[in-house]
Subunit: 246 residues, 2 copies
Amino acid sequence: MFASSLNVRPLFEETGPIREQCSLGALFDRSPRERVTAGQIVFFEGDRALHVFAIREGNLRICRQLHDGRRVIAGFLTKGDIVGVSFKNRYLYSAEALDDVAFQRQTKVAFEKQLLARPDLRSALLSQLCDEVAAAQDQMVLLSCKSAEERLCSFLLARLRKSTAQGCEPNVVDLPMTRLDIADYLGLTIETVSRTVTKLAGQGILSAGRRHEILVLKKSALVQRAGEDEADVDNGREDTLRYSHH
Amino acid sequence: MFASSLNVRPLFEETGPIREQCSLGALFDRSPRERVTAGQIVFFEGDRALHVFAIREGNLRICRQLHDGRRVIAGFLTKGDIVGVSFKNRYLYSAEALDDVAFQRQTKVAFEKQLLARPDLRSALLSQLCDEVAAAQDQMVLLSCKSAEERLCSFLLARLRKSTAQGCEPNVVDLPMTRLDIADYLGLTIETVSRTVTKLAGQGILSAGRRHEILVLKKSALVQRAGEDEADVDNGREDTLRYSHH
DNA sequence: CGAGCCATTGACGACTCTCAAGAATAGTGG
DNA sequence: CCACTATTCTTGAGAGTCGTCAATGGCTCG
């Protein structure tokens, strides 16, 4: 009934533990490559969580369903991400291919055994789990109190950071998912997503070229409309309730 | 800029690793008890994450702020919870007392050292982090696609489970937080929360007695309106893809 | 008893959803 | 290679839920 998964972020995104993430991925090197095509499902929400997966190519969506059919996309995965890590019995969500996907898998037991042997990897894992919590909470903020425009801008910025981090041309946002996927990720409808894109395009902030690509023309305007602390600055807040220890 | 915290659930809530949770709490037994009163803040979002805290009495809210003042409550803590676990430098959110709170603290380094010495505790920690991710994702589902009524019913049910698990009288929901806290937690306004409570009371589903207490009269109706898989039973979910509709 | 906070209730309006039709794209088969 | 279909996306009109603003009522505490 409960399962929890780990979504390792792209290697260069954080200032954090880059090496460890590489190591985690390396654990899968001996497994055979498997492939699925768009629409196929790697594992289902509720399935027994027997394997851990390392994505090598392509993109997936991570989704949960309410019994009445409503769908929530909890995130998107891509090359380098690891998914399925869990200390519960069942997967929390389904992982579905957005396009042609290649991945490697390991049984959970084997994965955990390797982890036991290498304490450095355990730290990497913990660190990644923390990142996952951080991402989930950012998403909660977005869903809790942002307008449609703010949500879309935040989403595009996050995507943009991802793309540029992976060395793609700057200002080009790759969107392997459909508008419906974006809508379900942002807690909006497909129509609202579409309208908002159109509106931003009309204001010269972006240009919607091909279906799965958006060109960002004014990043600063996007940042402004995202309503985030996009600065990511250390605003040196004072510690409170400080007390002296050793 | 990044920090991640751990929120250990009440001891009996899950079928999961009860023993480990006890052990984690036991790590704090030698620390002195500290106390804060309603409104005081244990640590701020953005503070350097130097300590880990074990709550011993009272209730706290966990919140994040957008620069323009909008607030999101990521969760509530109570007796037995542990907060502040992080493998990043800074706390992701503030922890503020809702009432009189007693807690114990440890430096993060000391906490991690103890963890190193006892591998069983590391598993407990991982398991708890997974729970945290699970909770965050449930909240994402709630915020993504539930109506005001569904949100409130889900919230009350979760609270009800918590109360009864702790051995309080069944059907009585304890609400140590204000309406504003509830609103910020559910992504609603205080007025909507109030109206929804009134509506449900008018339908005989609950009765709002004292300010910080709600009496549940028809739990089944609440479950129905929560729009969840409240069953919590392994209801042999189908492994099929359902169509989604907003 | 009054001040201040918190909660409730009402009227109104805005943002987004729903429903529906039409355009663009991709995929299929002749 | 081109028509034909299916899917996805865009655009429009109308409706509903929830947010905003404002006033009232009820607790708590000094």
